[in-house]
């Protein structure tokens, strides 16, 4: 403790005005100082992954190793309405477990009632996402992404802009949190910080692994897990008629994946042939970042894990159910989207009989993981 105090005083006297505000964010520097002094204290209990068969090891940011304590703290924070300025919403308000962490709405609404332009994404296997949100090429880490709903004002989600001190004092004054923060960040003399909040939230979200669907059991050898219709749908999905797998392939049913074996990060966004009215302000997709007209309407292909539970569909929630989605793709797009030059080449019309469409729906439903949406570890702790 003496060491901490002396380092703190040295820091204070060097950087004069800064210390109080910075102390909250200076944890890592102090931690580094302690490490240099020989006190290599483990950060917590290493989190043991219980990965489904066929799932690769997730790649975790070096500055935020997974620990049991951070996941626990993150779970409390994820479900706590103290994270919104008016204390009406938590992360879980738009990311509800029974819906695979979506909210069932066309587009979400923030804590002040302001409509979000986008449909809430599910969080199944978000640990494997190479990029986050619908089309932001800059958001690579959940830690960075978490600040958007907390502090963003266009739209307002949790409404915490300029309220960092309020947020930190709310948490510090809740008897639940001091022990949870100290356990999650044992090397940090002042664990209550924005950075640590985002680290804990990210750790909890990274634990949201879903891989025990009927499809997974089928893949593991239980051929009774899928109905005959679902098996026909699976063949359509992975076949050259449907071509669904090009954008929704692999263990996570998407084409952008990050794990420890990833050598080349291929970041892809697609225009999926929605009507151009779906791509006007503020829903330009990748165009919002590149200002390149050829990127208008390009979005990230989301994982189809638990897709049965995540309706309505698309970035703007414009398609109400799975059969509408299949009709959209079988038609090669919707409205003027069928002739959009930005349209992905795999979005082209192909013929499916009504029963084949139903087979595809059955297959997509086989990606539902009941354990995931009922797992007590992911439930609200309150």
């Amino acid at each position: 403790m003496k060491v901490i105090i002396s380092i703190t005083i040295v820091l204070f006297s060097i950087i004069d005005c800064a210390p109080f505000g910075l102390a909250k964010d200076k944890g890592e520097d102090l931690q580094t100082g302690l490490l240099l002094l020989g006190g290599n204290v483990p950060e917590g209990t290493p989190y043991i992954w219980d990965l489904p068969s066929g799932f690769p090891d997730p790649k975790i940011p070096e500055n935020n190793p997974m620990t049991v304590e951070k996941v626990t703290l993150g779970r409390f924070l994820f479900y706590d309405t103290k994270l919104s300025e008016n204390q009406t919403q938590a992360c879980a308000s738009c990311h509800q477990q029974d819906k695979a962490f979506t909210d069932g709405r066309t587009v979400s609404a923030g804590s002040t009632g302001q409509a979000h332009p986008r449909n809430a994404q599910h969080l199944s296997n978000v640990v494997y996402n190479l990029r986050l949100t619908w089309a932001n090429p800059l958001l690579k880490n959940l830690e960075d992404q978490a600040r958007v709903p907390m502090f963003g004002d266009n739209p307002v989600e949790l409404g915490m802009k300029d309220k960092e001190d309020l947020l930190l004092s709310r948490l510090e004054n809740d008897p639940i949190y001091p022990p949870l923060f100290r356990a999650a960040f044992p090397n940090d003399p002042n664990p209550f910080s924005l950075l640590n909040i985002t680290k804990a939230l990210s750790s909890f979200q990274r634990s949201l692994v879903s891989g025990n669907s009927a499809y997974d059991r089928f893949q593991a050898g239980d051929i009774s897990a899928l109905s005959a219709s679902a098996i026909r749908g699976k063949n359509l999905f992975f076949g050259e008629r449907g071509e669904c797998f090009h954008c929704h392939g692999g263990f996570n049913f998407t084409d952008t994946i990050l794990h420890t074996g990833t050598v080349f990060e291929e970041v892809t966004f697609h225009n999926n042939g929605l009507d151009s009215s779906s791509f006007i302000s503020p829903n330009g997709g990748l165009y919002e970042f590149t200002f390149s007209e050829s990127d208008r309407g390009k979005f990230r292909a989301p994982s189809l894990r638990n897709v049965e539970l995540t309706a309505p569909y698309m970035h703007d929630g414009s398609l109400p159910d799975l059969i509408s989605v299949i009709d959209h793709y079988a038609n090669g797009g919707s409205g003027d989207g069928v002739s959009n030059p930005n349209r992905d080449p795999f979005v082209r019309s192909f013929s499916l009989t009504p029963s084949e469409k139903q087979d595809l729906v059955e297959f997509l439903k086989s990606l539902t993981d009941e354990d995931f949406v009922t797992n007590p570890k992911f439930e609200s702790p309150f």
């Binding site: 204070f12 006297s13 950087i15 004069d16 005005c17 800064a18 210390p19 109080f20 505000g21 910075l22 964010d25 890592e28 932001n136 090429p137 800059l138 958001l139 960075d144 600040r147 958007v148 907390m150 502090f151 963003g152 266009n154 915490m160 802009k161 300029d162 309220k163 960092e164 001190d165 910080s193 924005l194 950075l195 985002t198 302000s281 503020p282 330009g284 165009y287 919002e288 970042f289 590149t290 200002f291």
Partner: protein
């Protein structure tokens, strides 16, 4: 309140420091200023002072701002108003300034090395903060209206500065950045950057109560072609150059920012839904093109435009 604590703490360690808060109205800080003065420090922080107005009125929080006309003899009613409305309630007014240069009478350019001060100034970037969280204002109680630096008491031909955070600091992690680059109200998490300028107000006009005007300027069209290296299509950093006829003396003159001129070109007076916003999101954000020229920028390129900036001017203190 954060800054007040910062001040109190810092002053307890270093009583000879300038007051951290250039120009706060809070009693605690005034007491601190008095304390530091009593201890024999410089009577007033030296540097380049800023002042924010709305036409003829002060840009202040906690009260209706009215009477901001150019002239009451004008026959054009909008000339009397900000974005077509009056009175207004300020919501936010903060911006980053950097890259200061002075040109002396011998045409020597002096690049100012703005010192870090732990609160408002870091690595050449200063946050000017005209809101104090009272009334309809958001943000924090602390304010800052000065770029602190020791300058000679003399006349300069020209002062130049950039409204914005330089590119080499624009994409750092704000949650662990030194103040003033660690303020969520100025961070732009969606683009992993900063908002250089935040100006927001409400209409308190009886014809359009509650309508709002929101102007956020920051670099846009940003991508990260290789890890850690960002490029932005539109820099959106106004370059301000002021060369008043009588010159500029930082001891006797200050730089005035006029909110009314910043919002010239907008009209938010339409009843029931006349609010306007510009978040600098490129062509997705059509309202920006009318107000960017007020800052001397062409919105389509984000570079210097054909019209000179009109929002900043030099006045006597």
């Amino acid at each position: 309140m954060k800054y007040v604590y910062i001040c109190a703490f810092a002053l307890s360690f270093a009583p000879f420091l300038w007051n951290c808060d250039g120009n706060s109205s809070s009693n605690e800080t005034l007491a601190l200023i008095a304390g530091s003065q009593a201890l024999g420090s410089s009577s007033k922080p030296r540097g380049i002072s800023f002042h924010a107005v709305v036409g003829d009125s002060e840009a202040v929080c906690g009260q209706e701002i009215t009477g901001h006309g150019d002239s009451h003899s004008s026959s054009t009613v909008h000339a009397l108003h900000v974005a077509g409305v009056m009175p207004i309630g300020l919501k936010d007014l903060r911006f980053y300034v950097s890259e200061f240069e002075l040109v002396d009478e011998n045409d020597n350019t002096i690049v100012l090395n703005i010192p870090d001060n732990g609160t408002w100034q870091y690595s050449g970037v200063t946050l000017l903060d005209f809101e104090n969280a009272s009334g309809s204002c958001t943000g924090t109680t602390a304010t800052n209206k000065i770029v602190q630096i020791d300058l000679e008491n003399k006349q300069y031909k020209t002062i130049r500065f950039t409204l914005g955070v330089p590119e080499n600091l624009n994409h750092i992690d704000y949650s662990v950045s030194p103040s003033p680059l660690n303020i969520s109200g100025m961070a732009w998490g969606w683009t992993m950057g900063y908002r250089f300028f935040v100006g927001e107000f409400y209409s308190n006009d009886s014809t359009s109560p509650g309508n709002s005007a929101v102007l956020h300027i920051g670099s846009s069209g940003c991508t990260e072609p290789s890890p850690g290296t960002y490029t932005c299509v539109n820099s959106n950093r106004p370059k301000i150059e002021l060369s008043p006829s009588g010159g500029f003396n930082p001891f006797t003159q200050e730089i005035q920012f006029d909110l009314k001129k910043a919002f010239a070109g907008w009209d938010i007076s339409a009843a029931g839904g006349g609010s306007k916003s510009c978040h600098s999101m490129g062509a997705m954000d059509g309202n920006c093109s009318a107000v960017y020229p007020n800052f001397g920028l062409d919105y389509s390129t984000g570079d210097v435009g054909s019209v000179s900036q009109s929002v900043f001017s030099i006045l006597s203190k």
